[in-house]
Symmetry: C2
Subunit: 313 residues, 2 copies
């Protein structure tokens, strides 16, 4: 799993930071990419990455402010032009479906793939054999969701040599053992899956929050997460402004990560007010509360593999 930040700014695009979008690359896990928010020119940012729009399987929208959704119509069109055929599922607040449909109709855009809409869902919004995604409302000036993505525990790898040595023949029985089933050989002997597979591995938990002031649901969604992405539109000095605009500070983001016993925090949604020197300070102030804090820049990539978290940029 890799997080690829496509837009890390707040409100408006600047030369340094585009409006919001984060790609969660699940290429090893399921061969697809999930997108969180889609500000204007997200498809342009994608042009400078290896991400293929047709591989985007799900788009989770946190809220309907323009800096989080104005890139949707263009990206949806291009996903079509570029050969996308698989169903795309879009999660987000009520109103997305009618706006997207009206926009596509106005512009005579006919997509080559179906869209499923999941509007205004809270609690478990998606589950399959690999993942559970939960949504909870945050505290912004309009309805805004945070998402918690939990990977289910992974079956341990099959220890092939060991199984063969125990007399398991090459073929379908190996597959059953790998899937966790015990099998009986022709000799009548039972081979236990647990004996020929590595231990079950914990999945990861990633929490991606939309715009919010300091709130309890942010802590709930972030509980024990490997990575929390939290907005930091304001800093310690401008803290008095943050809440009234429905936004948080870097220090509040760090407090959320700390209270939630999360492992890593990435500060996102950085205002263009902050100059390069301020950015170093943003990080410093947050690290005083929660040491394992990082800051997202456009095109930054973070990897989480076997519980190990790494900033790739």
């Amino acid at each position: 799993m890799e997080l690829h930040f496509l837009g890390t700014g707040a409100g408006m695009p600047s030369k340094e930071r585009n409006t919001s979008a984060i790609a969660m690359k699940l290429l090893d896990e399921r061969g697809t990419v999930w997108l969180f928010d889609c500000g204007e020119a997200t498809q342009h940012q994608i042009l400078h990455t290896s991400i293929k729009p047709r591989k985007i399987e799900k788009i989770f929208i946190t809220h309907l402010h323009g800096d989080h959704v104005f890139g949707l119509p263009g990206l949806l069109s291009s996903r079509s032009f570029l050969g996308g055929e698989d169903t795309l599922t879009i999660y987000g607040p009520t109103g997305l479906k009618s706006w997207i449909e009206a926009t596509l109709a106005l512009t005579g855009t006919h997509l080559t793939y179906p869209i499923d809409y999941v509007e205004a869902a809270e609690g478990i919004v998606f589950e399959d054999e690999q993942f559970i995604v939960r949504a909870m409302p945050l505290a912004h000036v309009i309805t805004c969701y945070g998402y918690r993505i939990e990977q289910k525990p992974l079956l341990g790898e099959l220890l092939v040599e060991k199984a063969l040595a125990l007399g398991v023949p090459k073929g379908p029985l190996l597959g059953k053992l790998k899937q966790g089933h015990d099998v009986v050989l022709e000799t009548g002997e039972t081979i236990y899956s647990a004996n020929v597979t590595a231990p079950v591995k914990e999945g990861f938990v990633v929490t991606i929050l939309g715009d919010t002031k300091l709130c309890d649901n942010a802590v709930r969604l972030a509980e024990g997460a490997d990575v929390v992405v939290h907005e930091a539109t304001f800093d310690a000095e401008t803290a008095h402004l943050a809440a009234s605009y429905g936004h948080a500070t870097n220090v509040e983001a760090a407090t959320v990560a700390k209270e939630a016993h999360a492992k890593n925090l990435i500060l996102n949604h950085i205002s263009a007010r902050f100059l390069p020197n301020d950015i170093a300070k943003l990080l410093q102030q947050a690290r005083a509360v929660f040491p394992s804090t990082y800051i997202a820049n456009d095109y930054a990539q973070f990897e989480l593999r076997n519980q190990e978290f790494k900033h790739l940029e």
Copy 2:
């Protein structure tokens, strides 16, 4: 007057060319900028120029395909954030107003300035003491307009020394002479404006056409123009495809400029199919028909000053 090309691609953004937008800078003439089309990320392109969104006075939309309008909501919002207060007028096909209003409502966007909409107007769509703008339908797969921008003749400069020598006192009489009025001095002597002003100067004519196959209205709009901007989505080799897609070739664009007795042609709306070598050929093929042909690249600037046309890039 300068034409500043912000997006010169066709259909989808590429790394080299953004979707459609052209800024006509009328800073000397009226202190404002007129925009023709507004593909996604037009506001991002503007960040790399000296254009100020609050100076954008009018936006002319040729047609409602996504690559010509998806940048509108973001640009309108940013014009507001960046202190725009003057009325913005948007010209284009029916449907623009309801889509923009729905989009702003969905995203809770409150603009600091009013928008006037002029939908589906043909013939003279704007006229004041400086300019006349005419629109005519072209031949695309959906309703698509071409625009002809005519600057009215400019009064000649006042020859101050000559007027003073003839006994005109400093003050308001000089202003009247400059405006073309004859005046009577206290001595009873009549001073003729024509005697103390330089000759009237012709204004410029610029024709900016939306997506179209070869059509008569393109020639009508381009008649005698100083500059014609014509799409060239296809080339001589792919000519058999152009018309069925509602598009033109480079050679057809040149034919329009030639038949219209235009002075200069700029090829625009260039497909990402064309590689750098093809671009040189596109130009060559068009110049064989109409020698004074240029090709638009993103950020290219062309100046028209005192009837002189110059490629500034």
